[in-house]
Symmetry: C2
Subunit: 190 residues, 2 copies
């Protein structure tokens, strides 16, 4: 059975096609600074300082109307001018996970406008969400979000993460690291 | 950090505290018939014919009002008179997983009354759901549901699964096996 890979490893070390430009400690324990990041399919043996795994899964909050609107605006990863990227691992509090679906959706969208805010930055900021929480009982994060954008959209990306971090949803984030990257062999004007 | 175990293995073979009384092929490929079932915490090395893993996770569909109602009626696993059990592994179709949250909730509860039907059998039928789909990209099932009940409630349990299997939700089930069990060392009158 051939299908798109669902499981990815983000390996921080000395190898990989992304150069690490910054590792920001946002909330809680940070990650060791590394020179390079490798994005690999599946779990792979590695010699990196750290490796974070995530699996793509079904949508948890988006409703049909939102999905249709997102699909009409968003573009995929790998655009040639998207030489900048960010890997943002996040863990939510035990209290978040005890909330019911309607309570989480209310905080996520009605209070925090997570989908609506993200949509304002499409198609400039491409995004892919990887889930970690149900890979095992011992994952260090609940989600890994990967973003790609052009240098001309770097300020917009900073604004996007700043807006989300001040939302009510972020009261339920107890660990967050922000890893900034530039494609190896590329140069940025900004 | 001490917390309740989330990951369990259900090992079919010749060992374990549950005797297998039947393995019913419901939809798609069945599982090999075994004599015993062992329920173990975490992934453990085993000599069984098969092992299915599942992880407990956050609620996906239940809203606060339903959770409160469920909590007021349900009882836990391990009741001394609940000498019968069932392990029902289920896989849903790719089409199910492409639906949005509102569409899945609509089929699950508005159309199929999954929560409302299950509630009618509380506290007699105790239930625990384990998720598999996001453990890896290669799990044979999406969910494992474990049920425990007394012999006097065996007919009610048969009715519960029969009602759910005729619901619109079940059009999205493409593999289902029904493993029936009795606690080893116990005898049943029924």
């Amino acid at each position: 059975v051939s299908s798109s890979p669902r499981l990815f490893s983000f390996i921080g070390g000395t190898a990989g096609s992304w150069c690490v430009t910054a590792v920001h400690e946002v909330i809680g324990e940070t990650l060791p600074i590394v020179a390079r990041l490798q994005v690999a399919v599946n779990d792979v043996p590695h010699a990196g300082a750290w490796s974070l795994r995530g699996i793509s899964s079904n949508d948890r909050y988006v409703i049909r109307e939102e999905k249709t609107a997102l699909a009409s605006k968003q573009e995929g990863l790998g655009r040639s001018d998207s030489i900048l990227a960010a890997l943002i691992p996040i863990r939510k509090t035990p209290g978040w996970w005890l909330l019911t679906q309607d309570e989480r959706r209310d905080i996520f969208e009605a209070q925090s406008h997570h989908i609506r805010v993200g949509m304002q930055y499409l198609p400039a900021i491409a995004r892919k969400l990887h889930h970690c929480r149900d890979l095992s009982p011992h994952e260090p994060f609940d989600f890994l979000t990967w973003f790609e954008y052009a240098p001309t959209d770097a300020a917009a990306f900073d604004e996007l993460v700043r807006v989300l971090r001040t939302s009510p949803e972020w009261a339920y984030v107890d660990r967050e690291v922000d890893v900034r990257l530039i494609k190896a062999g590329e140069s940025s004007e900004h």
